[in-house]
Symmetry: C2
Subunit: 347 residues, 2 copies
């Protein structure tokens, strides 16, 4: 175990913890005393039929996209009970750095997207007594979880909004994951996952951040210096004050744990490897949101999967933020995504 | 100096060497006893008006694209005198590993695209007595040199064909260069450029190769397993037998020297920083060739610059090979590029 002050409510907002006990894992084995951290907004109504689940992206936590929740927004806490589950292994839930030996650090078990979704299912059913979700939505790895939810528990998911993510990780996307993992692990301080200080692997984290900078937005984002619109003054400030600032406080093993889930994401496993068959099980009213400038979850990949989902629709945003459009750092992006979600919830 | 058997005529075809003497450099200083390696095909005619110059890409040598030369091809050696100049610093010309102290290895001076072009200009004028080039063409960094040629020596260049390269390196492209350089330098064996064996930095070169794998083609190349068309049997074979095989024998400092030129490429320097002004000087009949799936020299960047060149045209290829379409590994790509060059030479 390792002390890492970054993973606190001061940095990520208030959160609670659901105890999963000895949690059986998809790839075999179990994680003893497994804990799922989550945050909630609004109140569950008496009928328990106003819940929305918002699984989170790679490197994100329950606080990362909470700005989508607000009175008058699609995710209106005066109307809905909105739950942000943290990924297992993301630093707030049971994770390499906070799990005691013999399961911590480099010995933390490999997880799958399906582990997250099964854990979240237990939270929603056992803890909250919810049997129907008005909406499951998520971005990137959150979209992977959204697809898994809609295909694994079709009767429970009324609506689904996977944003810039895939039901099955593509070979190129897996190569992208390998590239940023290799960048992180290239730092000798990583030491096979057995570093001794929370901030030992800064060089590796900086390298990882640069790979995200390379693929996270798009070429025109840089050419047009679109970062000036969020009050960043120079390219170097963008690198240090945005990309590196995001990743440097994080736990390397947590990132590698999530990356491994990302790379191996495949909803097709629910149907013996047949992705089309697995996605055809979805009964949720599904709106896939994709970004035309996304470099590692390209529009085409999103469209290919959307077309496998009965009665689904596709919405495309053209922001220069590329994959990172979901952050909503351009007001028009936030408004458009909020509008799409509002339309989905209105039907 | 370092012995590196890779940089031999056995591996790169026969080449000759032009002695530049004490060669003054764009960024200041000079490189004593500077040598420019080159290969030729066909014969210079008596009028000395049948020369074609084909500067070479990053990590390439005079042998890399020689398959474009052939009887009946656009680059027909029975008609044209075709010269492939090696880049300075590419391993065959004066380079970090073959330059004696105090200018070798990590002390090798920083070069610019303009240094290459001025060196090539001396080769063509002083050595061959050529005052007119029927065509200058090149891919990627070869395109950078092509733009520099056409704008620096407009009266000498009758036709120009920059292929998937820019006159001014874009910020995103520079970030790409930084990313693969950092991947290479992340190997402790690189040792600030002062490694002692030619094969010491294999881990770094492998990491660099993976960054090229990530951006070199396109996402659909991997999804459709387009590599099967060139008799590669698996993703792992593609990584090891194509990308790594290409880069592993190379000299790390040579790659870093070329990368630095790439990143700083800017034809606008000819007009006090005004790229449009510099490109407007071009009188060559110019055909810009771009690849719709190119991830780091996007079609849009090529079109933006093409539109600054008077009377120029743009040809676009849609191959899944993305940036690497120029290799011509798919027969239709080779045929199409050959056809475009033939049309250009016919007018």
């Amino acid at each position: 175990m390792l002390n890492n002050d970054f993973y606190s409510s001061e940095n990520h907002g208030a959160f609670e913890v659901f105890d999963l006990g000895d949690f059986q894992l998809e790839r075999g084995g179990s994680l003893p005393d497994c804990k799922l951290a989550y945050s909630t907004h609004g109140k569950l109504n008496e009928a328990k039929d106003n819940a929305i689940l918002f699984p989170i992206m790679f490197s994100g936590t329950s606080g990362s996209l909470a700005h989508y929740v607000g009175e008058g927004n699609a995710l209106d806490p005066s109307r809905y009970f909105i739950v942000f589950p943290n990924q297992l292994g993301n630093g707030l839930s049971s994770s390499p750095h906070n799990t005691p030996a013999p399961h911590g650090m480099s010995a933390f078990p490999a997880l799958d997207i399906a582990d997250d979704v099964r854990a979240q299912h237990r939270l929603m059913t056992e803890h909250f007594g919810v049997s129907e979700l008005q909406l499951v939505l998520g971005w990137s790895m959150g979209a992977q979880q959204t697809y898994e939810w809609a295909a694994r528990y079709p009767a429970m998911v009324r609506r689904a909004a996977p944003i810039a993510g895939t039901a099955r990780c593509t070979p190129h996307d897996a190569l992208y994951v390998d590239t940023f993992c290799e960048a992180l692990k290239s730092d000798p301080a990583w030491n096979g996952g057995e570093y001794t200080g929370a901030n030992d692997v800064q060089t590796g984290l900086r390298r990882l951040a640069r790979v995200f900078a390379l693929m996270g937005t798009c070429t025109e984002f840089y050419k047009q210096e679109a970062w000036r619109r969020i009050d960043i003054q120079s390219f170097d400030d963008l690198m240090a004050g945005f990309w590196e600032k995001w990743f440097l406080p994080m736990d390397p093993n947590a990132l590698l744990c999530m990356a491994d889930k990302w790379k191996n994401g495949d909803v097709g496993a629910l149907a013996g490897g047949d992705l089309k068959q697995a996605l055809s099980r979805i009964t949720a009213k599904t709106c896939v949101i994709a970004f035309s400038e996304d470099m590692f979850v390209p529009l085409k990949d999103c469209r290919d999967e959307q077309e496998m989902i009965p009665g689904s629709q596709l919405e495309v945003l053209d922001s220069l933020w590329g994959h990172f459009t979901t952050l909503g750092l351009f007001e028009e992006d936030f408004k458009r995504i909020n509008e799409i979600l509002a339309n989905l919830l209105a039907n």
